[in-house]
Symmetry: C2
Subunit: 428 residues, 2 copies
């Protein structure tokens, strides 16, 4: 039995355009394999050139959101505008009219899913957002319907393609951050204003959504510790590599009973870890569940067609399933009262110190670490890198409290005998 489904697309940019093309070119395929007859009944975009280049028929070009939601042939509204201005207004209007919404908008879902789901629930319609996180990789479907038998204990993700592209280039070519960033901007892999990506904001939005679902609680993005990649020195990537580590910008979530730890920062992982071979603009999420153990999903985190794959898969899912399930996470500053967010988390650390090349310095430094409860696994004096009487000292610590490390660093810097040039967290 074939089901007829009419969709509207709001915003025909990269993702919206890819979605339009996929729905049109795959119409017969979905009819044959999914028994759904999906037709695009309306599109809304002010940019006439885009509409023309996609060969959108005049009769489905709408003039306003009101026209779209008044159209009785539109069952599902796809929002691919982005941001939280117009997009929020349009999605709200569609849901109020009882239209199911499929969106690729991470900022909207991260900041307003609670509010929007309340409206959806009240109007008996669905809100789907697989495309909001990690492009075409079905991570949200997996969390909802694939590993839902598990207490998810930990999640580590490479969820931003721009930063992974930059770090991969820095590692492979030994180039500096600024140089690689410029090249990435030229190639369209990084925005003119790269802040959202390189400073980790994009990753915190995604971690907020994914960890809220994985941990069945509210993880406001404002509670996420955040550090970007713009201060990474290429020499640290090289030193790390020599001792078996690869540098990635990781989005990390851990849950232990009611204590939650969420952070986005550059991280050294063992080079044999499956995440270490996720290169260029590829993304991956590595999770540990109490039954399933380790699971990783890998794929393209962005791009017109990969993201369209997630949007259209949601459309098909919405069309073929009558139950609507809501996730109810609210990503403003208010978390659930029984959840404790750990800011003084535990991690291993990589440090590079610049020290004077003279006797007794090492003893003083290790003394300061010991006094601050920082226990050292490995310490290497790079005698091969002496320059103007100073040399780099590479230190790897045991699992240590963040605050202990920070106070040790402050004391070393104040001592005058060494300077801590870089501090990178290490995960296994």
């Amino acid at each position: 039995m074939t089901k007829k489904v009419g969709v509207a697309i709001l915003g025909l940019g990269v993702v919206g355009g890819g979605t339009y093309e996929t729905l049109v070119s795959h119409h017969d395929f979905y009819l044959a394999t999914q028994q759904v007859d999906i037709t695009v009944e309306a599109v809304l975009d002010k940019n006439l050139e885009r509409l023309r280049s996609l060969k959108v028929a005049d009769e489905i070009i709408a003039n306003s959101i009101e026209e779209v939601i008044a159209n009785p042939n539109v069952d599902i509204v796809i929002e691919t505008i982005g941001g939280i201005g117009v997009a929020k207004d349009f999605v709200t209007k569609a849901l109020r009219e009882g239209k199911t919404v499929v969106t690729s908008n991470k900022e909207l879902i991260c900041k307003y899913s609670h509010e929007l789901e309340k409206i959806a629930r009240h109007n008996h319609c669905g809100l789907y957002y697989e495309a909001s996180c990690v492009g075409g990789v079905p991570i949200i479907r997996t969390l909802l319907d694939g590993v839902q038998a598990n207490h998810i204990q930990r999640m580590m993700g490479i969820v931003n393609g721009t930063t992974n592209y930059i770090l991969t280039k820095m590692a492979n070519e030994g180039a500096d951050y600024q140089e690689v960033l410029k090249e990435a901007q030229k190639l369209g892999y990084a925005e003119a204003d790269p802040t959202a990506d390189v400073d980790g904001f994009d990753s915190t939005y995604k971690l907020s959504i994914l960890s809220s679902m994985a941990f069945h609680t509210k993880i406001p993005y404002t509670k996420i510790f955040r550090e970007g990649i713009s201060k990474i020195d290429t020499c640290d990537i090289a030193y790390g590599k020599e001792i078996g580590y690869t540098l990635k910008l990781l989005a990390i979530g851990k849950r232990n009973e009611n204590a939650v730890e969420v952070r986005v920062h550059p991280t050294f992982i063992p080079s044999s870890h499956p995440l270490a071979s996720v290169n260029d603009s590829f993304n991956a999420v590595y999770m540990t569940g109490d039954a399933v153990d380790d699971v990783m999903l890998y794929g393209r985190g962005a791009g017109a067609l990969p993201t369209a794959s997630a949007v259209v898969s949601d459309v098909i899912y919405a069309a073929t399933h009558s139950e609507i399930r809501y996730s109810t996470f609210k990503n403003n500053a208010t978390a659930e009262t029984n959840v404790k967010f750990i800011s003084d988390f535990t991690s291993a650390y990589y440090m590079r110190l610049s020290v004077e090349d003279k006797a007794g310095v090492l003893a003083k430094i290790t003394g300061i670490f010991a006094k601050n409860n920082v226990s050292i696994v490995e310490i290497t004096q790079r005698m091969d890198k002496v320059e103007e009487g100073r040399l780099p000292l590479i230190i790897i610590t045991h699992q240590t409290k963040e605050n202990s490390v920070k106070s040790a660093v402050a004391k070393i810097n104040a001592s005058g005998i060494a300077t801590v040039e870089s501090l990178i967290r290490v995960e296994a």
Copy 2:
């Protein structure tokens, strides 16, 4: 609104036992997060010791399948017996009684899903089998509800943990196949009779199920080209590694319009490929869709709790979704008439020849390859390995037809100037 769901478990072996423990220990978690109140209403297993060690209450121990399916509190029957004897009989009886079935049984699904789904359809109940392939990795859910927007063009999987463990050990330790097999048997990673794993039968069952779903057609396991790992010489793993390849037993499916190519054999892949770092008993499936591009799912392909994760996730899915979707593939010898199975497939090849160390031999060998339309990318004479006047010659070919390579090999062997000692297909 909480939904009450009663389950029965048939067979409390490794997977059934893990499923029982997971359902009992996670009862309150599923109630809180999934709004399902899942209780084990019956278990069927003749082994009293197992029942006792799992502390199964006397009142839920059933004496016969008839008693289980007559129990009105049983909504879902979990089959974790394995094989196609009793398991098939019990599953058939449960479906006839209108009970939804969740199974971890790859052989049953591979050989009889069509027959069983017909009965399920007729009785308006579901048949779920996530646990039949790749343990806890949600590959079937992904194919059904995560990447269903795509024409899947290719799938390459490491779907057997035993052989991946053996190949990983051979690669890392340089040990011989027989030696590693014995160790694997001692550790319980390989069966006393390892045939099903090492000869690739287990992988063909899984490839049959997964490629049937991915390609939306029937892929009988009898149509799958199969070659195991028992003849792999450790030296080839080492030679391959030197030129950038890693050896894996891959289950490969390709679809191009109505032409399908399905094969299970040892395969060299570039060492930078994500599948190359899937080690030990881990499994992974790498797929390419026309929209999503490359996607990989990685995790534990076997084990009590990882497989229980898949079984219980199916139980929760069945309990929370009213639509039942059937896949209708029939894995006997009968394929759909419009599908063409390609046996003379195209691949690149690695070959190791043993040749006499004298002038003119190389010219003769390359001549035979050329005459048989086999074009060579790389040829290396291992002068460092001369032994009794013979040396190994390592050859990598361009994309070539299987039959061309085979006839070239036959001619070289017949020529008396060289012997082809090994032939390994190469995928990128």
